[in-house]
Each structure stands twice: as structure tokens, then as C-alpha cells.
């Protein structure tokens, strides 16, 4: 059952596309993510039979129905727990978890915290559109303060949550960010997440065309994206901007990252930080980058630091070490017994 079969012919996007009609709203960002996944899996050498998509509830959680693999559309917020059970039963399976900002950070916040803390070898994609779509537009834990919605006609007062900061705070060892429209960037992030042994957390900035259109504003707009996205590459300087003349430095006085222009105020390229994926403190600061005026949001792999072994490996190794040493009969008949004749 657990053997990974070698596909005889290379699979294609078609092999991973199920016969179910996709039912997201026309123009929804989810379409692009789905296509990207269907296109990337063959490249990763994935097989249909060993791939499992587990989701919770919400628009994003319909995702598994459209993948011609194994899939489990579970209940609101609980996908991490179900996925953990799948992985414990069969650690050889390639498990992807699909969730959203409401499903993963609100009702399922506890489970997301713990799957990350345990470092279960699962690829977690959180579609962040800053709104509850399926229930018709209420504000979510990632909505900006002041979001007007059916449940907050005067504007929301809840501060918003940063998913990557949440993940890192939960002990995630892999955190990345990409955008639903970044058809070239997204596959690379998926590939890295898939290759990472442990829980890999990916936030996808996604657009809800009906209830929160343009929610990401200039960050994802074609004209401004280059100036508001910092595309991280491990070992490379954090340079961004349409003219590649901007960069990130560490401001010692403020103990914070700061966006600067190379050539201004005596800044040279040598002052720009070099991205080190294994640096947790830097990742924490990168996660929050973008909150300030003119700051870019960090994209790509913010943090990746693989553990020696994954959670399921450790759990199952304990079982394997003991397996067969005693039988049930040994247990029941062992200890203090007596005979009645």
C-alpha cells in the first residue's frame, strides 16, 4: 500500500484535473492557484494515488474536489487534525492542506498552531483574501481595521493578524508567501514547500472578486507590484523595485528593517541585507515588512530550517522500536494471574 509507484509515463496537467465542474465565482483568484497546482505536481514527480488534499470549510476548501487525487473536504477549521491523522496512518503519502484566513486562523487557529508546532510533514496553503467569502462577506481575522462588512456596518475594530508571524510564532520551520496572480513565482514556492521535510506554511495573497476585490491593493497590482514586493532569494541581497534600486537594511536605532534607496543618503549595495533563510529573527522581521508606508511585502521563502526528523517519523519510530516485543497474549496473561481448577 505504501509503495510509491514509478509512473510509466510523465503525468500532465490533465492527469491531475478531476471531472468536477469548478464552482468558484468567475474571476476568483482560486482558479489560478488551482491551475498552478495541477501544472506543478507533474513537475514534482507526484503521483495521483499518493497525493492527498485535505481541506476545511470555505471557498478555498473546495479545492480538493478539483484535483484528480485523493481528497478530503472536512469540517470548518479541522483540516490540520484530519491531515495529521492521514499522515500518521500512512507517512508515505504526499499530503497538502488547503485552508483560508477564516478556516485556518479563526475557527481552526488552534489546530493550525499545533500542526506547525509539531512540524507534521504536510504542505499547508493558506489562501488569504481577508474576508469570509462563502458566508457572504463578513470580516475575517486578517481583515484590516475598519473593514465594512455585513457584520461590521460601521467598520471592524478587530486588529488584523499576520499569518506568517502567526506561523513563525507557532514554531513553523518553513514559511513562504506568494500571490495568486504570480504564475511564475507560485510554482517555485510550491516546489520548495513540497521538498521541505516538515510542516511547510505558504500564505497566498488571494483576491476575492466579489466581497474584497483589490483587497491587496497596490501590492498585487501590475504597475506597483515591483515596488511593493520584495522577492526573496536565499543568499541574495534584498533588492527590489522596478528599477532594482531599492533595498532593505537593518536600522540599528529602531531595531527594525527599513526600505532604502541605493545611492541615496550614502547607501551602497553593500549596506543591503543578504537573505538567510535559516535566520529566524530575520524571518520574523520580514514577516511584518509591508506594514509601513512604502515598505514592500516579502515574497518567496522567508524561513526554512529543516529538522532532523519530522513529527510522524518520530512518533512511528517509537512504535517501530517496540513492535513485536510482546503480544497481546503476553500482556493479558502476564502479570499476576491465578488458576481455578
Amino acid at each position: 500500500m505504501n509503495e510509491i509507484s514509478t509512473p510509466t509515463a510523465k503525468l500532465t496537467i490533465k492527469d491531475f484535473t478531476s471531472d468536477q465542474e469548478v464552482r468558484w465565482c468567475p474571476g476568483c483568484g482560486d482558479y489560478a492557484i488551482l491551475k498552478c497546482m495541477q501544472r506543478t505536481l507533474p513537475e514534482l514527480g507526484a503521483t495521483r494515488e499518493n497525493t492527498v488534499f485535505v481541506s476545511g470549510i470555505g471557498c478555498s476548501s473546495r479545492f480538493p474536489y478539483y484535483m484528480d487525487t485523493y481528497g478530503f473536504h472536512t469540517i470548518h477549521g479541522r483540516a490540520p487534525a484530519v491531515a495529521t491523522g492521514v499522515k500518521l496512518a500512512n507517512p508515505d503519502l504526499d499530503v497538502w492542506m488547503i485552508t483560508g484566513d477564516g478556516d485556518g486562523l479563526s475557527i481552526g487557529g488552534n489546530h493550525l498552531l499545533h500542526i506547525l508546532r509539531r512540524d507534521v510533514d504536510i504542505n499547508i496553503l493558506l489562501f488569504n483574501n481577508k474576508i469570509y467569502g462563502l458566508t457572504k462577506g463578513q470580516f475575517s481575522p486578517t481583515s484590516d481595521v475598519g473593514t465594512r462588512s455585513p457584520s461590521t456596518p460601521q467598520g471592524s475594530v478587530d486588529p488584523s493578524l499576520n499569518p506568517i508571524s502567526f506561523a513563525l510564532g507557532s514554531g513553523a520551520r518553513f514559511a513562504a508567501r506568494t500571490v495568486d496572480t504570480a504564475l511564475k513565482h507560485m510554482p517555485g514556492v510550491f516546489t520548495r514547500a513540497h521538498g521541505f521535510k516538515g510542516a511547510s506554511f505558504v500564505e497566498i495573497l488571494q483576491n476575492c472578486i466579489v466581497y474584497a476585490d483589490e483587497t491587496w491593493g497596490p501590492v498585487t497590482q501590475k504597475k506597483t507590484a515591483a515596488d511593493l514586493q520584495l522577492l526573496l532569494e536565499n543568499g541574495e541581497r534584498m533588492i527590489f523595485g522596478a528599477e532594482r534600486n531599492k533595498g532593505i537594511i537593518f536600522n540599528r536605532e529602531r531595531f527594525a528593517l527599513e526600505a532604502v534607496v541605493i545611492g541615496e543618503s550614502g547607501i551602497t549595495e553593500d549596506d543591503i541585507l543578504v537573505h538567510d533563510e535559516s535566520n529566524l529573527q530575520m524571518a520574523r522581521m520580514l514577516a511584518e515588512l509591508g506594514a509601513g508606508e512604502g515598505e514592500p511585502m516579502a515574497m518567496g521563502v522567508l524561513y526554512a530550517d529543516e529538522a532532523d526528523h519530522s513529527y510522524t517519523d518520530a512518533v512511528l519510530a517509537q512504535v517501530e522500536a517496540e513492535k513485536g516485543k510482546r503480544t497481546l497474549k503476553d500482556m493479558i496473561y502476564g502479570g499476576q494471574t491465578w488458576e481455578v481448577k
Binding site: E49, D68, I75, G85, V86, L88, Q336, T337, V340
Partner: protein, 622 residues
């Protein structure tokens, strides 16, 4: 000294002391020694919810009761014959229950002014008329213990901890039980702390020697309780949690599946998590989840991937699992849910027993969401019932609710060990890769059981998607079709109802299959009902005992069987849940006999109810 030995048929001994006095250990060691002597027995650990309540207070009293005898023992006994009270609070809480004329052993060393105050005594009851009517042995056990362990150099506090072993030594002497099993256990438990082991053994021996040599009043007798005439075989004592855990492991083995337990700590269900975590030798995987919901969801995920998922909890935790249970019902995945019931509602009485989750088990969840519900009647019975839960889960592709309770979980009884090789396997075959031209649907059903296919990830050719949205009857794809929902609902209900044909017909435990009165019970009321009916029948009353294991669906013959009695009473440790179900399903005039005090029924309470129903005037001649 030759003390005259009095032969008794049975005796009830209750050890009571402060939570920190080690009464549970004393009781369980007395139990082991008693079991090894071949007596039948039943035990009842009765402890407070607080781990360490303030020392010396009445709410910090912990007790352990054992009923043992040369005859079949089915209950823990209504009233103790012997009460051991290690402090004033223990005396205060337990004295009223001691049978009149019973033996009271107290540690007078613990009857300090401060302890008396904490227990609410203005003056010491020792030597006052308050204890008239009992045989009182007051000994300064604290002082004698300190004396016995002096040479091992323990601090005063640690040395005093040995007084439970001193007491145990004396009680072992009193009931002619062997010390060796306890000595062995102490050596083993404290193998890394020889000083503690030796001190405890010395205290045990000192207590025993005291009984043997001290000049005691004539009332301080030594008792002999013989071995019971049990069925031939190998026996051991077992608690419900232990037997249930072994049963689950055995169920997995018979199904040919790995079992994966998802669980979250909760009283009184945690011992199942602990026991299964200690069964890695059998390939059992346990997962202590972040909460009750994650625990059941992980078990469901495991079942989706081809293992047998199990989750275990108690009432409040089961309530949290209800939505996930609905998912398992809707996706038709096998799952065993164990509920060790406790007093409710809400947090209720965590350490006290109750049977009040029957409605939750049968009627819980949103939508029409039936599951099979089965129950355990005694610690030993848990083994068989756990296997049955696994069998039904995999055969019918359904969650199964197994109801046990705090009393059964913690209580111990001698258990005739089953012949494991004689158990019938129910090997599961996951759906394989379809052959050329064969179509696959995850919801294709076995025409007889209505169980769906179980195709698991990792199998080429059976890739499919399932979820909690209604599924098309044929293809298993999402369906919002009205007629299809009716059909699927009917099918799910029909599948569970059909189990009635696959379970044993309802038997009558005692008495005739028709008559004046049936006492109908379920779960851990088995012992007291059984004894009460036996006594009533010995008085010539026309009464039968029916005990139901399968609560949903009921056995096929149950309705007809109940119709054969003039009257029905249903003793339950709830406000009348089975009573209502019987009335609902069979239109019979079932009368409730309810007790929700957190304590098991006394035989007398049921016997009185039987007598009330069958008045002497109705007991005419032939």
C-alpha cells in the same frame, strides 16, 4: 497468639484517608492480594476531583472500597463491614455508611486538634457515644509507623507516608491475606529508591506483626474468606479501562488493521489513552491531540487513510466531538468512539459515575445522524464490547459509540482470561485497483450490509474525493439533489437499523421470559440489579432481569420480549433516558428508577423498588 479465625462468606472493607494518604494504592494492593487468594471481588475507587485538596479537609477524602467473598461478587457492597479511617475527615465522611456493629479502625495519631477542626469536629469522637454501635479499634498508627521505619533514616514527613502500608499489613493479617505480592510490588516500584522500598516493607511487616502479637480486645478477630467457586480457567484482576484498551487492540488485530487513537486527557477516560500508549509492541499508535476535536479528527483522518481510528473521552469531550462524528457518519468511515461517562451536565462531577450520556450518544449531532451504540456492564465485559465496537465499525463503515462509565473504568474485578486464539477474525479488505473496464465509486455499497467501499490513499485507480457535503448515491460526487438527499438519509438510517439482524437476540439474565415484572438495565447497573433480582426471586417474587448491551439499534426481539411482562422498571444512573427510549420505540409502560448522586446503586434500593412494584397481595398462590 492464637486468635480464633472466623470464616465469612464475604466482607466489604473501605479504606478512607486524606488524598495524600495513599488510600488508592492501599486498596489496589489489598485487591491484588485478595484476588491471588482466589476470592471473587469488586472494587470502587472513590476519590475527589482535586489532585491535592487541602490536607485534612472533608472534601480531600479519598476512599477505596472492596467487596470480596467466597461467593460470586457482583457489586462493591452497600455498606462496609470494616471502615479504616486514617484521619477525622475520613471518619466524618464515611461513618454513616458503616453497617451498624461494623468494625472501625482509626489512626488516633491523626486525631489532632487541628485535624479535628478541619473535619468540623468540636471534640474528638473517639471514646464518645458517637461511636457506640460500632466496634472501634483506635491505634496510634502514625506513631507505630514512625517507630517501624526509624532505622531507615527517613524524614518525619516521608516516614509518615508509610502508614498506609502499616495499615495494609494489619488488614492483610486480619483477612488472612498474603504479604508477598505487596512486598514484590514495593521492591519493583521503588527499585531505584531502596530506602523507600525497605521502609514501606518494614511498615507493612510491622502492621502485620502488630495484628499477630498485640494483645487485642476479643472483638479484634481474624477473618477467613475462602476462594470462590468460579468457572475453571486462568484469572487476573482487571479494571474496565485496561480491559477496554486490550479489547480495542484485539479488535484492530482481528480486523487486520493498525489502530490509531486520537485522544485528549480527561477524567475518567485518560487511563485508556495511557494504556494504549503503552501498547506500542502491538503497533498501536496514539496521538495526544491539542483538543477533543483534533483528537477525533485525527482518528477520522487515520480511518480515511486505511487504519482504524479510535477516539476516547468523557461526556464534555464527547460533546465537542459531535460535529466531527457527523463527518464520519456522512463520509461513512469506520471509527470507534469511547465515552467513559461521568456526572454532568458541563464539567459536572468529573470523578463520579453516571449514565447520563445515552441521549447524547443516540440522539446527538445535527441532522439525521444515527450511529450504533453499545455499552459495557462490568470491567471484564469491556474487552468483548471493545472488540464488538471494532467489528461493527469496519463491517458497516460507521462510527460506533461505546458507552462505559467512570465506575466501570476504575473498578476492578477478577476476569477469566479469554482464549484469544478462539476469537473470530473479521479481516478487512480495502478496495483494490479496479481491473480493466471495471468502474469505481467510493459509495458503491455492499447490498447486504449497505457498507460502502473502503478505498484508501496510496491505491492507484481509486482516487476519489469525499467530504461532509451530501454525496450522490451512485457516484459519490457532491449532490444538492432533493431526491438524492432523501435516498442517502434513508440509506444511512437503514444501514444502522440493519445491524439489529447482526447482533444477538436479547437474552434474559435471570428469571422467566414473561411474567409480572422485568427490571431492565444497561451498563454498570448490572451488578446491583443482578443481586437485587436474585434476592427478590429468593423471596419468591416473580421478577426477571434484562440487561441491554445494544442500545442502538436494539435487538430485534426486545419489543416482543418486553411485551411479555406486566410491569417494567428501569434503574438508571440518569433521569430516565433508557426508560424514554423504550417507551418511544415499544410503547411500553416502562417506569424509571433514577439515581444521580454520582454513586452506584445499592442493591437495597433496587430491591425496595422491586418489592414496591410487586406487592405481597399480588403474590397469590398457584
Amino acid at each position: 497468639m492464637a486468635s480464633d479465625i472466623q470464616v465469612l462468606e464475604s466482607a466489604v472493607v473501605r479504606f478512607a484517608g486524606d488524598s495524600g494518604d495513599g488510600m488508592q494504592l492501599t486498596g489496589s494492593q489489598f485487591t491484588t492480594s485478595t484476588a491471588l487468594s482466589g476470592s471473587d471481588l469488586a472494587t470502587f475507587p472513590d476519590f475527589p476531583a482535586e489532585i491535592r485538596a487541602p490536607v485534612g479537609t472533608t472534601f480531600g477524602v479519598s476512599a477505596f472500597q472492596i467487596n470480596f467473598g467466597a461467593k460470586a461478587i457482583k457489586t462493591v457492597g452497600d455498606s462496609p463491614d470494616v471502615l479504616v479511617a486514617m484521619n477525622p475527615a475520613a471518619l466524618k465522611v464515611n461513618l454513616s455508611n458503616l453497617r451498624s456493629g461494623g468494625l472501625l479502625v482509626v489512626d488516633s495519631g491523626a486525631f489532632s486538634k487541628r485535624n479535628l477542626q478541619k473535619a468540623g469536629y468540636e471534640e474528638s469522637p473517639l471514646g464518645t457515644p458517637a461511636l457506640d454501635g460500632y466496634q472501634v479499634i483506635d491505634l496510634d498508627i502514625s506513631k507505630m509507623t514512625l517507630e517501624a521505619v526509624k532505622k531507615f533514616g527517613l524524614g518525619n514527613k516521608e516516614a509518615l507516608r508509610c502508614k498506609n502500608m502499616w495499615t495494609l499489613g494489619m488488614m492483610l493479617w486480619m483477612f488472612s491475606r498474603k504479604r508477598e505480592p505487596v512486598t514484590k510490588w514495593l521492591q519493583n516500584k521503588f527499585s531505584k529508591m531502596p530506602q523507600i522500598a525497605e521502609s514501606n516493607i518494614a511498615a507493612l511487616n510491622a502492621g502485620h506483626a502488630f495484628g499477630e502479637t498485640a494483645e487485642l480486645s476479643a472483638t479484634f478477630k481474624r477473618y477467613q474468606i475462602g476462594a470462590t467457586q468460579s468457572e475453571a480457567g486462568t484469572y487476573r484482576t482487571v479494571t474496565g479501562s485496561q480491559a477496554l484498551s486490550w479489547g480495542l487492540a484485539q479488535g484492530g488485530e482481528l480486523a487486520g488493521l493498525q489502530i490509531i487513537l486520537g485522544s485528549y486527557p480527561i477524567t475518567p477516560a485518560s487511563p485508556i489513552l495511557h494504556a494504549l500508549s503503552g501498547m506500542k509492541e502491538l503497533g498501536v499508535v496514539t496521538f495526544q491531540a491539542e483538543d477533543e476535536i483534533a483528537a477525533i479528527c485525527a482518528a477520522i483522518g487515520a480511518s480515511f487513510a486505511g487504519s482504524l481510528g479510535i477516539t476516547s473521552s468523557s461526556g464534555p469531550g464527547i460533546a465537542l466531538k459531535m460535529e466531527a462524528m457527523g463527518l464520519a457518519i456522512s463520509t461513512e468511515l469506520p471509527l470507534v468512539i469511547v465515552n467513559s461517562q461521568r456526572g454532568g451536565p458541563s464539567t459536572g462531577l468529573p470523578t463520579k459515575t453516571e449514565q447520563s450520556d445515552l441521549y447524547q450518544a443516540v440522539y446527538g449531532r445535527n441532522g439525521d445522524a444515527p450511529v450504533p451504540v453499545i455499552s459495557t456492564r462490568s470491567p471484564g465485559d469491556c474487552f468483548e464490547v471493545a472488540i464488538e465496537a471494532c467489528r461493527l465499525a469496519v463491517k458497516y463503515m460507521t462510527p460506533v459509540m461505546l458507552l462505559t462509565d467512570g465506575f466501570t473504568a476504575n473498578a476492578a474485578e477478577p476476569w477469566k482470561l479469554p482464549d484469544l486464539d478462539a476469537l473470530t477474525p473479521f479481516k478487512v479488505r480495502h478496495t483494490g485497483t479496479p481491473v480493466e473496464g471495471e468502474s469505481f465509486s467510493p459509495f458503491k455499497r455492499d447490498p447486504k450490509t449497505l457498507a460502502r467501499n473502503w478505498a484508501v490513499p496510496g491505491t492507484p485507480g481509486t482516487e476519489h474525493r469525499i467530504g461532509g457535503i451530501e454525496k450522490d448515491f451512485d457516484s459519490g460526487h457532491i449532490s444538492y439533489d432533493a431526491d438524492n438527499h432523501q435516498k442517502m438519509t434513508d440509506t444511512r438510517i437503514g444501514k444502522i437499523a440493519g445491524i439489529a439482524a447482526d447482533i444477538p437476540a436479547q437474552a434474559v439474565e435471570q428469571g422467566e421470559t414473561t411474567g409480572k415484572l422485568a427490571v431492565v438495565g444497561w451498563g454498570s447497573t448490572f451488578g446491583p440489579i443482578s443481586e437485587a433480582v436474585k434476592m427478590a426471586r429468593a423471596e419468591g417474587l416473580d421478577v426477571s432481569h434484562i440487561h441491554i448491551r445494544y442500545l442502538n439499534p436494539f435487538p430485534e426481539n426486545l419489543g416482543a420480549l418486553l411485551a411479555g411482562y406486566d410491569k417494567i422498571i428501569v434503574p438508571e444512573m440518569n433521569a430516565g433516558q433508557l426508560k424514554t427510549m423504550l417507551r418511544d420505540q415499544f410503547l411500553v409502560d416502562a417506569k424509571p428508577l433514577n439515581k444521580v448522586s454520582g454513586l452506584p446503586f445499592k442493591i437495597q434500593e433496587i430491591l425496595d423498588a422491586i418489592r414496591d412494584e410487586i406487592t405481597p397481595s399480588q403474590q397469590g398462590g398457584e
